[in-house]
Amino acid sequence: MGLDIKHIYKKFPMAQNSLSVLEDVDLTVKDGEFVSIIGASGCGKSTLLKIIIGLDKATAGAIVLDGHRIDKPSHNDVGIIFQESRLLPWGTVESNIAFGISDKLTAAERKKIVADHIEMVGLKGFEKVLPSQLSGGMQQRVSIARALINRPRVLLLDEPFGALDAFTKINMQNELLNIWQTEKKTMLIVTHDIDEAIYLGDKVVVMSDKPGRIKDVIPIDLPRPRERTDADFDYYRKKVYEKFFKQVKRPIEYQI
């Protein structure tokens, strides 16, 4: 059981030939696992998420969740959080979160579930506030609540904290981990932040670009809660770093 990404290929037709964006991306995400996908921009990681959620079709390969294929959006299966919060500017926090509800519910059920999710992301007291009056971090909390309200089994995160400042980012990562541990969801995050990938993931999937291929899968064998300043954390940081950048060999005489 879990999420099977089976030999995904994606080609975009061009004038002459075609542009290969994803090549043989094959990955299994176990139930309740947190997987980080890291790669330079343009490596097709966002395209991969779009294929997983059914917004885009793969040229070849299949997405299988608990034994059945996904080829169109299905709110109980997969939810997504985008880099931009994508809130309706004319809706309050409350109505934006309620907009996430796709199932038919009674008014009382809706009210309760919306209130629960506002509480979960720590926005109590902000129910009637418009998105333009919220900070970037708070807007992203609203979008997290909206994505979770359908109780999807898998949550995809497309560089969710990429636009936030460093401190807000760390806070949001911790809250996301809290939600992950209490809700026991399968999470798949796409990021270009090495620290974020290691801090959050049970494993880090390193992707190469042009075309996007899985270069390496690095299991992160660190106990939680993790400490970014640990030597062990640094070991993984270095390991991921080396996948992207060549180690500069410094002549011995420069080293003191």
Partner: protein, 268 residues
């Protein structure tokens, strides 16, 4: 100089100049006008002095004639405007949503849009006579174009990222239209409606000047025939004031409906 700076820095001054500054030029204009008349620099048989205009205004308010003309004109404006807005909105939404509808209409839009609504008056009189119908139609045409074009523009401006979100959340087309596309189009629709009402007001005056026995447009063309520049002045001034009042009401309405929308015009 230092005192002036202090005065400008003071909050109270900043608060008051919102009402004070807009009044400076009109008052100055009236003073120049009045002293020009008194000094015989202005031919009062062509431009009457301010006190003559006020006398004419008081008489026209007293016998109810100004009220009659204004009510007639505004009634026509609202009837024609309602027709123009409803048609503009309906066609605009359809053309904005469905490309074939837009393509079907595009050549007609391109050809008819440059024709001023007023230029249609002779035709309309020929077809419908000189009763209310041609006037209402002219006003409807005048307000139709800006509403139509801005509605199309607004519908097309819906954020594709929000539309993608709606697909993820499996929203049906009606929900997408009501919750995303129409609210996104509203600011643009309002711009069209404001332009529309000012066109409508210009059209009613023109239509009444050509064929009518009552209304502000009739009032001014009749006053010219009778060589009553003071009455003419009252008529022209009321056209300006009513147009201004309508725009203020529209701006208030816009601010209320578009509570989330922060634009330069609505923050004024």
């Amino acid at each position: 100089m230092e005192r002036l700076e202090k005065l400008l820095a003071k909050k109270e001054f900043g608060k008051n100049n919102g009402i004070f500054l807009p009044l400076v030029l009109p008052v100055l204009l009236v003073v120049i006008w009045k002293s020009g008349c008194d000094a015989n620099l202005i031919n009062t048989s062509l431009l009457p002095s301010p006190d003559h205009v006020i006398t004419a205004l008081v008489t026209m308010l007293g016998d109810g004639s100004l009220k009659k003309h204004i009510i007639m004109s505004t009634t026509r404006v609202f009837e024609g405007y309602a027709v123009g807005v409803i048609l503009g909105l309906l066609l605009g939404i359809l053309a904005g949503l469905f490309k074939p509808v837009y393509q079907l209409l595009s050549s007609l839009i391109g050809m008819f849009r440059p024709i001023p609504a007023i230029a249609m008056i002779p035709f309309l009189i020929l077809w419908f006579g000189i009763d209310e119908t041609p006037k209402i139609i002219v006003i409807a045409i005048g307000s139709f174009w800006p509403v139509l074009l801005n509605t199309i523009q607004g519908i097309k401006s819906a954020d594709t990222k929000l539309l993608e979100l709606a697909r993820v959340l499996e929203k049906n087309q009606l929900v997408v239209l009501i919750r995303i596309i129409l609210p996104a189009a509203l600011p643009s629709i309002f711009t069209g409606m404001r332009l529309g009402i000012s066109h409508a007001w210009a059209c009613v005056v023109a239509a009444e000047m050509i064929a009518s026995a009552v209304g502000v447009g009739f009032l001014i063309s009749y006053a010219r025939e009778l060589l009553q520049p003071d009455v003419l002045f009252v008529g022209v001034a009321s056209i300006g004031l009513i147009g201004w009042a309508i725009d203020i009401v529209m701006l208030r309405l816009q601010k209320w409906v578009l509570y989330w929308h922060v634009s330069e015009e609505t923050t004024k």
